[in-house]
Homo-oligomer: 395 residues x 2
């Protein structure tokens, strides 16, 4: 049979990241391309204890169907935590649990976007979200990313000229792939522009807890008195990505439509996963755990930047204040795809910048490096090898 | 702000079933409206043992990111099991793990359907799947359901006349909501017609293992030498619905596009859930467990049909050979919504037939009863109350 596919899926290639992830699981490859938490960053003992207790005391709550909105005590806890600890959420907002934060991007598009509508995104940006947007047939327009957040002038120009802009997608903290953080001024400017042009904001904050320097800045959602921000949170980077638990906090009418969408997508998020998350958040010293992972990643980041200074002086980067990634500009004339290919031949995986392009084949002048997945020894060795690749390229 | 939603979501009301599920969780309501497994049908001891072992021996495999296609050993096991035990799958087929079988319907639409394309479905049919189809803006056309499967003449007429039919949706075993089973002849006829009109089949088989009488009939997928059947399987009814694990077996080009769609939807299915399923399928006597649940449900079905004979002689039904549901025709002149409302006032929840209509407001002459969720005592009591409601209506 000759299969015909939908327009939305026909244009969408498999995520380069996930293809690269597959390659990095090959033995002997040093994984600077992935974005996995370090294995020693999982609270394994705590999850073991929680799960034993849950399955002894309330197994049916873990194994039976649940409601689409999520496990009610978990929803309440997360909403209260957002409000008290982060200053997020007004009376008009509601929170639902999702199957990872990726599903927030999916449900936002499902609820808001018709084919041909426009989404504005920092460029470069997270390939997973970009592909979700593409899977809804939206038109993506890129706003250049700067070390202090997206270019506000370009943002306003696009808001003025693009028809049917549904939302602005932004990762203000330790952005993927750049590692850059939006300044307070830019956060306020993005909010003001969205309000002025009657456009929503989709604020994605997977890395917010992973701060290694400086002071935490308020989320854009914390300014939201007008009900224009959809906030996406995740347990993937602080507890576990494998159990797939995220959440979204947004105005109730939007959440109502996202819930209908989620019902049609996967009915509800794993109850076992939700029960584990709730028990962990309410019964353990999560702040201590987050301090521990911050220490692990601060150390890994320092190992990477020290090694880059020693072995790769030709690479330029802004040291990130948090997150999992570091964005390196290549020396003039060196192509990112050529560099990544040469690196893989030497058993080091990195992601060429164009994988994160919002439009066209941009960002071939940079690569993304991840410092959370490799061991400390792999970090040093990987960067040393990249130094060799650079030297060869310079010959 | 005045929110504008996508066309696809604007027309989609929350699933009546899930709204009713919420109502049935109110204390004191006898739940004949749900579709939950009986709590004593969960292999709780086994899941407890498996999870303790997994989190002691291989915690990272449960907590770390996985690949979109699913945990490789689970995929291989399920594919081999489909082939050996059920005769499903040719060399051109591939299997991926999904977040429950509902996601198979979602991914099939994502991969195959543009807005305005047509999907043919048995009518009445499972509201969850119908709403998924609707969420992609497809045009739904209903093929009347009969006690031996869908009306083949109407199916062919629609295949002849409807433009852009992408697939035929069918639940051949113990259909939801009717409980009816497609005969072998009808299964073959559906396959032959799909082939003749160059249309795919989406075969949904969540209840296949729950047979209480008669011999198992081959799945339509078992005839599929031409690569036209997408098969959806589920662990929800034999192990647990709460952990959200299903799978799909379909021709590799279709699976490739569904995988791209899944990547954009939720990245992958909970690794902890997948590890539990794999350990259970490979380490335990699942056949014995399925025999046990069949006994529990056979008994519940008999309690319900005995009670119906005693208290509700005016209700007509075909006793199902398996599954979780029984479809009752109401006496002439009695409206299903009125009857369901009167029943809820007496603390018994049932679903009016029109909730399962593929088009318009059909099936207001019947209600769906579920016998898996209530306790045995609730079953007897609930049906006795329905008898009283019928008598009052007849006054």
């Amino acid at each position: 049979m000759d299969y015909t596919f939908s327009n939305r899926i026909s244009g969408l290639a498999p995520s380069a990241i996930r293809e690269i992830l597959k390659a990095t699981s090959l033995p002997g490859i040093i994984p600077l391309a992935a974005g996995n938490p370090a294995p020693d960053a999982f609270p394994v003992e705590e999850v073991r204890e929680i799960t034993a207790k849950l399955l002894a005391e309330r197994p049916t709550d873990c194994l039976q169907y649940g409601v689409t909105e999520g496990y009610e005590p978990l929803r309440s806890f997360l909403a209260a935590d957002c409000k008290q600890r982060l200053g997020l959420g007004e009376a008009f907002d509601t929170l639902i649990v999702t199957s990872g934060a990726q599903q927030v991007m999916d449900l936002a598009c499902k609820a808001l976007c018709n084919e041909g509508d426009t989404v504005l995104s920092e460029s470069p940006s997270f390939i997973g979200s970009l592909n979700t947007f593409r899977s809804y047939g939206v038109k993506l327009r890129g706003v250049p990313m700067r070390p202090d957040g997206m270019d506000i002038d370009v943002l306003e120009e696009l808001l003025k000229t693009e028809p049917k802009v549904r939302f602005i997608y932004t990762i203000p903290n330790y952005q993927n792939p750049t590692g850059w953080t939006a300044s307070l001024e830019k956060r306020k400017a993005i909010y003001a522009l969205a309000l002025k042009y009657n456009v929503l904001i989709l604020e994605d904050n997977p890395y917010g807890e992973l701060r290694y320097a400086g002071e935490a800045l308020p989320s854009i959602k914390s300014f939201d008195k007008e009900g224009i921000v959809i906030y996406a949170g995740s347990l993937s980077k602080v507890l576990s990505p494998g159990i797939r638990v995220g959440y979204t906090l947004a105005p109730a009418p939007i959440i109502a439509k996202m819930t209908v969408g989620k019902q049609a997508s996967d009915v509800h998020t794993s109850m076992l996963s939700q029960q584990i998350v709730y028990a962990w958040l309410t019964g353990y010293d999560t702040a201590a755990h987050i301090r521990k992972i911050r220490e692990i990643y601060t150390n890994k980041l320092n190992i990477m930047t020290d090694a880059l200074a020693a072995y790769c002086p030709a690479l330029h980067f802004e040291k990130p204040l948090g997150g999992l990634f570091l964005w390196c500009s290549l020396p003039a004339g060196l192509d990112a795809v050529d560099f990544a290919s040469a690196a893989v031949a030497e058993k080091v995986a990195v992601v060429p910048g164009n994988a994160f392009a919002v439009e066209g084949d941009a960002h071939r002048d940079a690569v993304r490096l991840n410092f959370s997945t490799p061991t400390n020894e792999q970090l040093r060795q990987g960067i040393e090898i990249l130094g060799g690749v650079l030297q060869k390229a310079g010959e």
